[in-house]
């Protein structure tokens, strides 16, 4: 190779160019696969008349997969999606149980057993212009945040 420095230089340049284009092709594939449009369900869901959610028993809204809880401070929407692997938790006794791997949560959504790494999420609740309750799955809020006077 030493005898032909120009040839080995050009060979190295060629290899580098091929390598670069391979990286570029991989990067393009990666970018192509990133979906820009969602065909899935929306993030905001109407939950009807806020008055229909009474104190005591949590009421399950199936499509957004949230439990609507009311106490003296107001309304909250707690996610029913287990923080472990995303199965739907069901109300059982005072708390919630996940059917997939047995995670257990208390009535406030805090983990009391099983493999779940974190407490259940709470989502932003609002009342829209026509007086209907609305949950926004795109916005998580602290568990202490209640919707007052609805």
């Amino acid at each position: 190779m030493d005898a032909k420095p120009r040839r080995s230089f050009l060979f190295a340049v060629g290899c580098a160019a091929l390598g670069l284009s391979a990286v570029e092709a991989l990067w393009s594939t990666f970018r192509f696969a990133q979906a820009r449009v969602s065909y899935g369900p929306p993030l905001k869901w109407k939950l009807g008349d806020p008055k229909s959610y009474t104190e005591g028993v949590p009421i399950y809204a199936a499509e957004p997969r949230v439990y609507v809880l009311r106490n003296s401070a107001g309304l909250r929407a707690m996610s029913a999606s287990c923080t472990h692997l995303g199965c739907t938790v069901r109300a059982e006794g005072e708390g919630y149980v996940c059917p997939c791997h047995g995670s257990r949560y208390d009535e406030e959504g805090k983990v009391v057993g099983g493999p779940a790494p974190a407490a259940l999420l709470f989502y932003r609740l609002a009342v829209d212009g026509r007086g209907r309750l609305e949950v926004d799955l795109g916005e998580a809020v602290p568990p202490a945040e209640h919707l007052h006077g609805a």
Partner: protein, 388 residues
């Protein structure tokens, strides 16, 4: 041969098969060498590689299963539509309306399960006889990749029926990916094409299952088979190898046609008949249509992923991702870490008792968690010793 109309059939036959049906050893070797399909084998082989116990035919059975999966898979694609609105209905049509549709689907399902079993046992067999040692290191790595792709095909195929099992198995599986630190959530969205398992995920899994993974798989199978031959065929006991001290005393090489080819056809026919019989006797299950609002209890993945699900039950990342990934990477690194080079051509040889014991223990561990996940986990993934 004169180019007359009377000679046309013979002319066509001779233009395709240069060598006629082999009558003697010389002709059989000519036939093996002149055909692209037959030349996948060496024209002459060691008699020791013919015995059933030399390979238990596990590699061949895997290839037969793959062939059946390709055939039945293409048939199913004529009716199946990968969209959440209609996917489940087309599955019902395949089961109840399409002539022989249910048999086709059952064959596809049981061949897939069979392939997972044979590929896994093939890997165990090859390790126990030392088939990962030089010169077969690279082919061992390709074999591990083929095992992973077999599981990836199963995983992507499981979503397609769009029943409850499909939806929740993939929801759980994709959330395991999301449990990987840093890149997990992004990788999950890349796979699903959306926030949750839906229209985009079904289409992506369909394309991966029917096109992308099979394409890579067939290329790798070709490489794998080529290298099996180039690396010296099956491992046989040492006295059969050419460098053995008394090479002249050992058995002579024998022609692959008919000894090997006929055996392969027989095994292939037997496996096909067996799978057909199973498909007639037992049907692939189809649960109620996927319902994202209702998780079945317990929600279980297909049986060969229940080991991973059992581990994920302890911790989503460490159990569900780290241990399986470390296992696969460890398998690939194995031939380069194993310092004992000789493969004496026996199962579980005394020289390799530690390696073989460790490997069997490791596979037994995965088999054990799979059994626990399959049989001893009831509602809420609670341990139930006798749920029946």
């Amino acid at each position: 041969m004169r180019n007359t109309l009377k000679n046309l059939p013979r002319h066509i036959y001779a233009s395709i098969f240069r060598v006629g049906w082999p009558a003697d050893e010389r002709a059989s070797i000519k036939a093996m060498v002149s055909s692209i399909t037959l030349h996948i084998h060496a024209p002459k082989i060691r008699p020791g590689s013919l015995g059933f116990r030399a390979s238990w035919a596990l590699g061949l059975l895997s290839v037969v299963a793959l062939g059946l999966l390709l055939l039945t898979g293409i048939y199913l694609m004529f009716y199946y539509i990968p969209h959440p609105d209609v996917a489940y209905r087309t599955m019902k049509d395949i089961g109840y309306v399409v002539p022989l549709g249910r048999l086709t689907r059952d064959l596809h399902r049981w061949a897939a399960h069979g392939m997972v079993i044979t590929v896994t046992l093939h890997m165990l067999r090859v390790f126990l006889v030392g088939g990962h040692k030089p010169p077969r290191e690279a082919n061992w790595v390709v074999g591990v990749l083929l095992w992973v792709m077999t599981l990836a095909l199963s995983f992507t195929g499981y979503l397609l029926p769009w029943d409850q099992l499909a939806f929740w198995a993939i929801t759980v599986g994709s959330n395991m990916i999301a449990a990987v630190p840093w890149i997990g959530p992004g990788a999950r969205e890349l796979l699903l094409g959306d926030r949750i398992v839906g229209e985009s995920a079904l289409l992506r899994f369909y394309v991966l299952h029917c096109v992308a993974i099979p394409a890579v798989m067939f290329a790798l199978v070709g490489f794998h088979l080529f290298r099996v031959r180039k690396d010296g065929g099956l491992i046989v006991s040492e006295h059969e190898l050419p460098h053995a001290r008394h090479a002249d005393d050992g058995p002579k090489l024998i022609p692959a046609w008919p000894h090997l080819v006929y055996r392969e056809v027989a095994v292939g026919l037997f496996a096909t008949a067996l799978l057909l019989a199973i498909s007639v006797a037992a049907h692939a299950p189809l649960e109620p249509e996927a319902d994202p609002t209702r998780t079945p209890n317990p929600a279980k993945a297909p049986w060969y992923f229940l080991g991973v699900q059992e581990l994920a039950h302890y911790h989503a990342f460490w159990g569900g991702v780290f241990v399986p990934a470390a296992f696969v990477l460890g398998l690939m690194a194995l031939p380069y870490l194993d310092r004992e080079v000789r493969a004496p051509g026996r199962y579980f040889p005394r020289e390799r008792w530690l390696a073989c014991t460790l490997f069997v223990t490791l596979l037994s561990f995965f088999a054990a968690v799979t059994v626990v996940g399959t049989l001893f986990r009831g509602p809420g993934w609670a341990f139930t010793f006798w749920p029946y």
